[in-house]
């Protein structure tokens, strides 16, 4: 009898609990509908975290502040072993505050990493920053384009750009990791052994799972991105930045209005031109354009971890796609700034194409540019443009960004190869001389070791080998199509 009463009471309690949960759900929906929620419920959060954030209520901001103060103090004291944990707590206390995620990730990747003299330790902290955004931030804010953009920024700027003297190490590490997973530059669609030209086997199931779980890269989406804009070399940081910016755009397209709900984005980047000042969608768009342009400039990677070879050279075949994307964006936003950026890119592209002797293509682009930009001086012919810009550029080679400088040197060497193959030894020597002179001027402008480390060019021999290979590929049309 006693047991029966207990069972009855237990059942009644469970029934009551179930009823309360149902009512609670309705109430929650009602509050969300009428925008009565101070913070939206956490998505994908473990129960303990969801409970903590709800239970702490308004106090969680206070606790986050205290933890933040502690972070600053520890950082000043150089005691950084606790920072990752504090960042984890702070972000989880304010899981919808995009700025918090962005700042904490940026702090680890930018500020803390440089506290370490060795590249290995720096890379660990850059990775800690990436992981915070990729593994945690996006998990709780899957519909926030700003966070995708912030994640892309770490790849594009921290790993891809020359700010950090350890950036060559970061690039190599990323390439090494991705090469191990992908067995090459990208996800191959041909099964193992069916294509005799494919030197490597495609990733196996375990590796695909690793892509999904560890790097949060969806193989299907990677293929889709390759098909729409590429194909790209997935060992390059710019490709990852492109992927995340593209994911951000997709998210924004699938969830209209999500961008407006998010809080103000981060203004903590040192670079004023960072896309973070823009709303998430536009920033993602801008990042995509920047990454596509970078893929054109330096999207071809020759990497060999055994010999520490890491050379990036232009992907000339990507130019039409990059131009198309730029034009679509200009049509979408109709912004003067974007048009200027595109004009500059076209100028850059003309110079690079000219370096490789692709004057017909360069001339066509120049014509298009004149058509598109009525305020350009139409009296200047293509040859005058090249004459003025290319010569000036050779004089001020030291000021050129490293990918452009590589492109020019490799382009000149490429032309030397072609001439040599055609039996024109005289012109071949002239191109060789120009390439060497250009490289020398560029390197002379880099007096310090740190500067050379960050922005130096590969040796001439290495670039010559790249040029030779490119020349070989262009004479074998199959090879060119293969890269597509």
């Amino acid at each position: 009898m006693k047991n029966a009463t207990a069972i009855f009471l237990l059942l009644a309690a469970l029934l009551g609990l179930w009823g309360a949960a149902r009512v609670h759900e309705q109430l929650w929906d009602y509050r969300a509908r009428h925008q009565l929620l101070a913070a939206a419920p956490l998505e994908n959060a473990p129960p303990l975290m969801a409970f903590t954030t709800v239970a702490l209520g308004g106090f969680r901001g206070l606790i986050a502040d205290l933890l933040w103060l502690r972070t600053i103090r520890l950082q000043q004291e150089g005691r950084v072993f606790e920072i990752a944990q504090l960042a984890d707590w702070i972000t989880k206390l304010e899981p919808h505050f995009t700025t918090v995620w962005a700042f904490q990730a940026w702090n680890m990747a930018y500020n803390i990493s440089v506290l370490f003299p060795d590249a290995e330790n720096r890379w660990r902290w850059v990775n800690n920053g990436i992981r915070l955004l990729r593994d945690e931030g996006l998990r709780y804010n899957p519909r926030n384009p700003n966070l995708y953009k912030e994640l892309g920024w770490l790849y594009q700027h921290k790993i891809g750009y020359i700010m950090d003297s350890a950036h060559p190490f970061y690039r190599r590490k990323l390439a090494e990791t991705m090469q191990a997973v992908l067995h090459g530059a990208r996800l191959e669609t041909n099964p193992k052994g069916t294509d005799p030209r494919s030197p490597m086997a495609p990733p196996e199931a375990g590796e695909l799972q690793r892509l999904r779980e560890e790097f949060k890269l969806d193989p299907a989406l990677m293929r889709q991105l390759d098909a729409e804009y590429g194909p790209f070399d997935w060992r390059l940081p710019e490709t990852h930045a492109l992927y995340w910016a593209w994911r951000g755009l997709q998210t924004a397209r699938d969830n209209p209005g999500a961008d407006e709900q998010t809080t103000a984005s981060c203004s903590c980047h040192p670079d004023a031109k960072a896309p973070s000042a823009l709303p998430g969608v536009q920033a993602c768009d801008q990042m995509m354009l920047q990454c596509l342009a970078a893929a054109f400039r330096q999207g071809r990677l020759d990497f060999d971890p055994a010999t520490d070879l890491y050379v990036t050279t232009p992907r000339l075949d990507l130019l039409p796609q990059v131009m198309k994307t730029y034009e679509q964006a200009i049509a979408r936003y109709d912004e003067r700034n974007l048009r200027t950026v595109y004009a500059n890119f076209l100028g850059e592209a003309i110079i690079i194409l000219h370096s490789y002797g692709r004057d017909a293509q360069a001339r066509e682009i120049y014509r298009q540019a004149l058509r598109r930009y009525p305020d350009l001086d139409r009296t200047i012919s293509y040859d005058d443009f090249i004459g003025a810009n290319f010569v000036a550029m050779q004089k001020d080679a030291g000021d050129l960004p490293p990918p452009n400088a590589v492109a020019v040197v490799e382009g000149l060497l490429f032309q030397a190869c072609r001439r040599k193959a055609a039996g024109d030894a005289k012109h071949a020597a002239e191109f060789e001389r120009q390439a060497k002179a250009f490289r020398d001027i560029y390197m002379q402008a880099r007096a310090s070791e740190d500067h050379r480390l960050r922005t130096g060019l590969p040796e001439l021999d290495i670039l010559r080998r790249q040029a030779e290979r490119r020349a070989q590929e262009e004479t074998t049309p199959d090879m060119e199509t293969k890269t597509k």
Partner: protein, 429 residues
């Protein structure tokens, strides 16, 4: 007198041991500490993981036990007054001091048991998570030399700059222009064991605007019994602590350390702090003895918290006592901050005389709070243990002298006096 104190402490201990709260506290400490390695998120290195575990496990233990100590002490007298057990006890031939001391001794025994348990658990887990099977040999060595050790810093006996600085003595920074050198002379203490690694710890700033841009430097280390100096060239980031492992040096030797600011394409003057710019890091003792000293520092803190709880419990009812004790704990916890940053803050309003008055009043209150709260930050084991810094016995002695005897004793006298004057027969305040 002693037998009565022991009887009361035994009663306190026995009561506590049998209460569910005690069992709950043990379970909480065990679960928290044992579950910690699974929950913490370190920087990804074995050293970081170990440091974080020591820091959080110790911090957690300290927090839990401090709260438990203040809570149980606040209830030790006040709850007995409310439950009228104290009515019977004070009709027996015992002095208020005997009751207070007996309770304190009982609570300290509980603190000791809890701390021993938590300490044992932390140590066991530390050994388990850093065992040979888990970590590489390199990680093991670096852990042993940098974290699971007890080292202290030795200041240089002499600092020589070339060229000599124009300002003369009293400078806080010494500048090393490009191409110039600076030397420090250290006496390797006799107490160092010849087998243990010596480190040179240094930190500097540069004249560059780019704070983090590294500089190239050459270190020359010369012991007075060796003819060939040890040389190492490296690129070092400013504003970051660096540790250079030195070759073995016999105890008692004079060690001359010279830094040459290597001239590069982008030269920079390097600035060392006069006393702390370069210091010798020597191993003072093993990690285990340091760990025990850290536990003793925690125990000194618990001695103070127990005294605090007992005294407020002797005066107030349980809720009031707990509130008072925790408020004091909170202020004490902030005392480090109060002593430094809060004093610098100033109210700015008009009229000026009102602002001045407010500032003076605030300053006075903060100074008073700083004075009445014990300097816990000075005896913070977390400043030492996770970084492998040596905790001298003198510090442990000072902690017990100041926290347990000084502050605890003052509270005890206050507690005796108030308790002996309190009318037990009144309804609880």
């Amino acid at each position: 007198m002693l037998s009565k104190i022991i009887a009361i402490s035994g009663l306190t201990l026995r009561t506590a041991m049998r209460s569910r709260v005690f069992a709950l506290l043990i379970a909480m400490v065990v679960i928290c500490i044992a579950g910690l390695p699974l929950m913490i998120k370190s920087d990804g290195t074995a050293a970081g993981q170990t440091q974080l575990f020591i820091h959080y496990a110790f911090g957690l233990t300290m927090t839990l036990l401090s709260i438990a100590a203040a809570w149980s002490a606040a209830g030790a007298i006040s709850l007995e007054v409310a439950g009228r057990q104290m009515h019977v006890l004070v009709t027996k031939p015992v002095h208020a001091a005997e009751i207070w001391l007996g309770k304190w001794l009982g609570l300290m025994t509980i603190n000791l048991i809890m701390l021993g348990l938590a300490g044992g658990l932390i140590y066991g887990l530390l050994r388990w998570t850093t065992r040979n099977a888990v970590l590489s040999a390199d990680d093991q060595v670096s852990l042993r030399e940098e974290i699971l050790t007890a080292h202290s810093l030795i200041a240089p006996e002499q600092t020589v700059s070339k060229p000599a600085p124009p300002g003369g003595a009293g400078q806080t920074l010494s500048a090393v222009p490009p191409g110039e050198t600076q030397s420090w002379t250290f006496r390797v203490p006799e107490r160092t064991s010849p087998g243990n690694a010596l480190f040179l710890q240094f930190q500097f700033a540069t004249s560059r605007l780019e704070r983090q841009m590294p500089v190239t430097g050459l270190w020359l280390i010369n012991a007075d019994d060796s003819t060939k100096p040890y040389r190492t060239l490296g690129s070092y980031t400013p504003h970051v602590g660096h540790a250079l492992k030195l070759p073995p040096v016999a105890p008692g030797q004079l060690l001359t350390v010279t830094y040459k600011n290597v001239e590069t394409a982008e030269p920079a003057t390097v600035l060392f702090a006069a006393n702390t710019g370069a210091q010798l890091l020597i191993r003072e003792s093993g990690f285990e003895s340091n760990f025990i000293r850290a536990l003793l520092l925690v125990l000194a803190r618990l001695a103070f918290f127990s005294a605090l709880g007992l005294t407020v419990g002797a005066l107030f009812s349980f809720p009031v006592a707990v509130f008072t004790a925790f408020a004091f704990l909170f202020i004490t916890g902030l005392s480090g901050w109060i002593g430094t940053e809060a004093l610098m803050a100033e109210v700015d309003l008009s009229p000026a005389w009102l602002a001045g008055l407010l500032n003076a009043a605030t300053y006075g209150i903060i100074q008073l709070a700083n004075f009445v709260t014990p300097p816990l930050a000075r005896f913070e084991p977390l400043s030492f243990l996770p970084t492998g810094a040596f905790i001298p016995w003198a510090l442990v002695g000072t902690a017990w002298g100041i926290l347990a005897i000084g502050y605890g004793g003052t509270l005890a006298v206050l507690g005796f006096w108030m308790f002996s004057r309190r009318e037990m027969g009144l309804a609880a305040i």
